[in-house]
Symmetry: D2
Subunit: 135 residues, 4 copies
């Protein structure tokens, strides 16, 4: 399967990414760009985007980028810092790319940006590249 | 405001925690227990709970525990590892407690467990304790 | 090889742990306690213990605890927060224990404490349990 | 004080960075390059560089980069992954640069590379920018 086929399959079966309204902008082996729009039901008690939404967007971007290489990839450890508050109805973009790619483990960074290209959140994830392939 | 009053106010205004179905089990200054149930719309492309849901539950638990001390607390850095797959319609519990509490910064751990008391995910968060108080 | 034999072998060949003056207090499969004393040559430009020393102590504790189960364990990702300043000639203790143990991956926490049993630093590490064993 | 003056003062008083043989290659406000050479006494029980050495180099780079802006900076949380084994007598380079810079908090990444420009370790650190300045 190609990178695009793998991610189409992942995204079309992914109920929560669909709830988030995630749209695939670009996919290449190991690289992924996503877009979504913040909605009222995604806000926390301070009226700003719940940290879990930015994490979810980044985590989906990680999963798509890491699996698009053709082997099943499992998330081992992730971290995120939230830098800028997001309000309702803002466009959010995720950019996932490898920091380092090895046979067993790969490390990715995902940057979440707003329409002003400001860094909303920075995410880092380690995945285990299983021996099974997408077929 | 008491710990319970602070968290009632936070949770009642928190649209996304409500979408998650988060229920407050226990709150004491610096300590918080939450419960939620996994739903079909929270699953990813593999038919298991999206990593962002467990993160969101843990992040809400962190916010409630850290703010329940009476000062406004801001998340600086968080990390999570997912240990066990969660299916639809499982009960999930979050237990947030401090690792260390300082004047400016506090570090919390949040454990997510299932009904068998297995560790579903382990979360760590650092918060900044602002000088403003809940009133 | 037993846990004690594995760690004796690791420590006796470990030039940097010896430079640190690391002493093995207790070893059981998956659990490790170490001790060392801060020296003048370990301080940074502020006259307090360099963050790298506490990390090194914790990293050795992780390696000993994780390998003591009998399989070769490789560090995948580690994080540390420094909570209390350490001066020259203080006793430091490391306590390494599993957060969760799985076949392929295990997560450990290491707590560094001083003689007053205050938490000097908190460390978290993920290891990959290789299929090769200590023999 | 200029960035160079701050880091000269920090490094000249930093006993452990001197033990490591750390040499300042380049300093600009918020940016720092360091160099050191791995020695036999820095190796672990597997005959490769102890993880604590790469962490220490990265942690010094973080401290220099973050303080070079003129305000005192305190490390809040750091993480590191080790990607490539380092042997004795290898040149190591650290490159520290901001991911995001805010008034109170800044996030830096530090890359450790060898002479082949391979990524030996990737490090991330959050610092708190105190209100006191270098003078």
């Amino acid at each position: 399967m190609t990178a695009a086929e793998i991610v189409d399959k992942m995204l079309s079966n992914d109920a929560f990414s669909q709830w988030l309204g995630i749209e695939l902008i670009k996919i290449e082996p190991g690289y992924c760009e996503l877009k979504m729009i913040s909605r009222a039901e995604m806000l926390n008690g301070f009226g700003i985007l719940h940290g879990g939404i930015a994490y979810s967007l980044a985590d989906s971007a990680l999963a798509f980028a890491a699996n698009s290489n053709g082997r099943h990839a499992l998330s081992i450890e992730t971290s995120i810092s939230h830098h800028i508050k997001v309000k309702e109805n803002e466009d959010l973009y995720a950019f996932a790319e490898p920091i380092v790619t090895k046979d067993k483990f790969s490390h990715y960074q995902v940057k979440i940006k707003n329409t002003d290209f400001e860094l909303v959140a920075s995410f880092k994830g380690v995945v285990y590249n299983a021996s099974t392939i997408w077929a």
